[in-house]
Amino acid sequence: MAIRRKLIAGIASLLSVMLSGVVQATSELNMRPGVTETSIEAYNLHMMVIWVMVGISVVVFGAMFYSFIFHRKSKHPTPATFSHSTMVEAIWTAIPILILIFLTIPAVSLLIKMEDASKPEMSIQVTGSQWKWHYKYLEDDIEFFSNLSTPREQYEDYNSDAKARGENYLLEVDNELIIPINTKVRFLVTADDVIHSWWVPDLAVKKDAIPGFINETWTNVPTPGTYRGQCTELCGKDHGFMPVVVKAVSKADYAKWVADKNAERVAAEKAAAAAAAASWDMDKLMVLGKKTYDEKCASCHKVDGSGIAGAFPALKGSAVATGPIVEHMNIVVNGKQGTSMAAYSKQLTDAEMAAVITYERNAWGNSTGDTVQPADIQAFKAGKQ
């Protein structure tokens, strides 16, 4: 009997040490509570379920371990002969049902709250593409692409020569989604190729981006900060390389950002017009072309233009890169339907498109000698070519 008591005491203290360890370590091991009302409520529900599960395991596994020790053949040579008990079975059917009801009630109420995107103060259309996000602010008429900005040298480590990685490795973008705090922001999520999914853990917002359909979700962020998430639906090769970064700023800062963005757009339009008016020589085109190609195209078509057979066509020696320029321009400007080749008209300036097409037509032995001017791209887009 003394042994039995010691054993129970030992198990109990071991369990409490483990549990307290879990509680202390929760910050690293656990889901984050996030910053919004719904994310915190989700976290609380998550913790409640965990405690219920811990409680159930203590009872069930406890009974099992008790049997292992006290009902082993050497200690308990004569087995009991019972093999049913309607009352016991009824109890252990009823109790789980009650526990489940207890868990369902807060879950239902939280779900209703999370799915209520009504009466928003602003709306942003979120479009997933292979492999980047596009954001369009519906009230403020601002739109931009948001690409992973971690340099390839940091993630390609095939020769054990990767550069040092920053804290936000694979979770940083060139253009963050800026939203004002304390504002109910509605997101209208869609995609223009395959299914993607837009997720920001700190906001507890996750919604699938489905081509041809629009889904809505919302958030209201009380705390300024930068919140990082990722695409969460397998969408092809670079599914792991299209992060989501949302930066919540004060309403005043947001207004200033909107004004800055509009000014930026005007300036960019002027610069594009100037570039289009100018005439670029082959060298200038090849320099910008290579830079653009390595940043935007090499991920699929490879730095040496060799592509991946069956997935991404080789550009070296390809019919498109050595054939009619109009076809080449069409694919770069408009993309190719049914493939991962995106439409770059919105993502690159006319100068960049002209340069990259020139580069592709002259690099790797393609040597067509062709040059494409920014003005040519402009004319093509206007339907004049």
Binding site: E41, K73, G212, T232
Partner: protein, 517 residues
């Protein structure tokens, strides 16, 4: 009872004997398990550290896809069919399965189907790379050329499964020995009977899904293409209508195995036999109305989310009943802990942990934070590895003496168990944490905050992989040079196969049906 059997390679090509076919299924599933496991090793090697060291992202996606397809369709499902073939006729006192020639075909389709699937690695564009769940339009409009081979392979596997299921049902309904009423059958036979009905109901749905994919790809239909008036979400509904019952197809036979082994080593009858039957049937029925819990983030209306959340949580009730019944079987029994019992106990504990993460996933508003993260990967690997696979492992250890007349080495078996126990938890428990920390599924590279969890998971995986080789050696050593087993190796075992047959069981058994009281 006769032991005379044909020899040579034609024995295996033409056999209609349930024991031979059972052995072929089991060996085939083990080979597939190693192939799928090798792919897991590639995945875990790449994920061992942040950065891309070994494979390109497109190939990584092929690894994750094929790992899933091979494990689900090539390892778990055929292993269960192998057990069914060996055990069902012996357990019910039948001389063989009802349709022995169809049985041969059911098996032989599989090597062809999987050769086709694996050859896709050599095709331009590589093997399927869209996840084992092959959502449209990634798999339709954007799928590589090998997708069509994948579709053909799935059709072949489906036909094999349907034929196998028909065989099981007809055998169980029509060929039980006199006196063996349905409620006297061993629980393993019950769980397989119910699994067979699930197979018949949902494999046609899978066939329909992949056929619609084929016509969308090549015959101008637009089932899943919004441009033509179709709906990618419809793909998910139809797929998961198959997919959810599929996961119960993978686990119910393991429930049956454990329900045979635990009573044997507790020297006590299974607690609540009839509840176990009803619970299994309830789980099967409920499995048809919960499919959209895989789709909570797809943009379903609130009413749908509520319905599927509540229905999914309901499944916990009959599952809990089964767990409690196993515990009650052990309670006040007289327990010994040979290798089959160790694997069965681990099954109960670790499957239950997988069940806990399942209840968490069922809660839709919190599922938004878990969906498509490693938390889900942890959940299903817990119910599949220490679940289905430990169940099959326990079965192999338990019935090996009956099948071969040889005993495995108990010390070595226990080492296999402890290695498996340690490495399976080391591999998959950290995945709960990386998922909760925010790591999505199906990515070849990740931010530093996930690094430690991935490192531990990879170390565990390498150990787990090596442990399977250890298992292979254990079994081969037993079959080739093991000690002769007892006629009834386990004193607590019950059932016709133990009480009415010698070990090894002769090639033809129960040519005359036994009398069952």
């Amino acid at each position: 009872m006769s032991d005379h059997h044909p020899t040579g390679i034609t024995r295996w090509l033409y056999t209609t004997n349930h024991k031979d076919i059972g052995s072929m299924y089991l060996w085939f599933s083990f080979i597939m398990f190693l192939v799928g496991g090798a792919m897991a090793m590639v995945i875990r090697a790449e994920l061992y550290q942040p950065g891309l060291q070994f494979v390109e992202p497109n190939f990584f996606n092929q690894m994750t896809t094929m790992h899933g397809l091979i494990m689900v369709f090539g390892a778990v499902m055929p292993s269960m069919v192998g057990l069914a073939n060996w055990l069902i006729p012996m357990m019910i006192g039948a001389p063989d399965m009802a349709l022995p020639r169809m049985n041969n075909w059911s098996f032989w389709i599989l090597p062809f189907a999987f050769t086709l699937l694996l050859l896709s690695f050599t095709m331009e564009g590589g093997a399927p790379n869209f996840g084992w769940t092959f959502y449209a339009p990634l798999s339709t409009t954007y799928g590589p050329a090998s997708t069509d081979f994948f579709i053909l392979g799935v059709h072949m596997m489906g036909i094999s499964s349907i034929m196998g299921a028909i065989n099981v049902i007809v055998t169980v309904f029509n060929m039980r020995a006199p006196g063996m009423t349905l409620m006297k059958m061993p629980l393993f036979v019950w769980t397989w009977l119910i699994t067979a009905f699930l197979l018949i109901m949902v494999m046609p749905v899978l066939a329909g899904t992949v056929t619609m994919m084929l016509t969308d790809r090549h015959f101008g239909t637009s089932f899943f293409d919004a441009a033509g008036g179709g709906d990618p979400v419809m793909f998910q509904h139809i797929f998961w209508f198959f997919g959810h019952p599929e996961v119960y197809i993978m686990i119910l036979p393991a429930f049956g195995v454990v329900s045979e082994i635990i009573p044997a080593f507790s020297r006590k009858k299974l607690f609540g036999y009839s509840s176990m039957v009803y619970a299994t049937a309830s789980i099967a029925l409920l499995s048809f109305i919960v499919w959209a819990h895989h789709m909570f983030t797809v943009g379903m209306p609130l009413a749908g989310e509520l319905f599927f959340m509540i229905a999914t949580m309901l499944i916990a009730v009959p599952t809990g009943v089964k767990v409690f019944n196993w515990v009650a079987t052990m309670w006040q029994g007289s327990l010994t802990f040979e290798t089959p019992m160790l694997f069965s106990i681990a099954f109960v504990i670790l499957f239950t942990i997988g069940g806990f993460s399942g209840v968490m996933l069922a809660m839709a508003p919190v599922d938004f934070q878990y969906h498509d993260t490693y938390f889900v990967v942890a959940h299903f690997h817990y119910v599949l590895f220490p679940g289905a696979i430990f169940g099959t492992t326990a079965a192999v250890y338990y019935w090996l003496p009956k099948w071969t007349g040889k005993m495995y080495n108990e010390k070595v078996g226990k080492i296999h168990f402890w290695l498996s126990m340690i490495f399976v938890n080391l591999t998959f428990f950290p995945m709960h944490f990386s998922g909760l920390a925010g790591m999505p599924r199906r990515i070849p590279d990740y931010n530093m905050m996930f690094a430690d969890f991935n490192m531990w998971a990879s170390i565990g995986a390498f150990g787990l992989g090596l442990t399977q080789i250890f298992f292979l050696v254990t079994i081969v050593m037993a079959i080739r040079g093991g000690k002769k087993s007892e006629e009834k190796q386990w004193d607590g075992a019950t059932g016709l196969e133990w009480d009415a047959l010698p070990s090894p069981a002769p090639y033809h058994t129960f040519s005359t049906p036994p009398k069952v009281d």
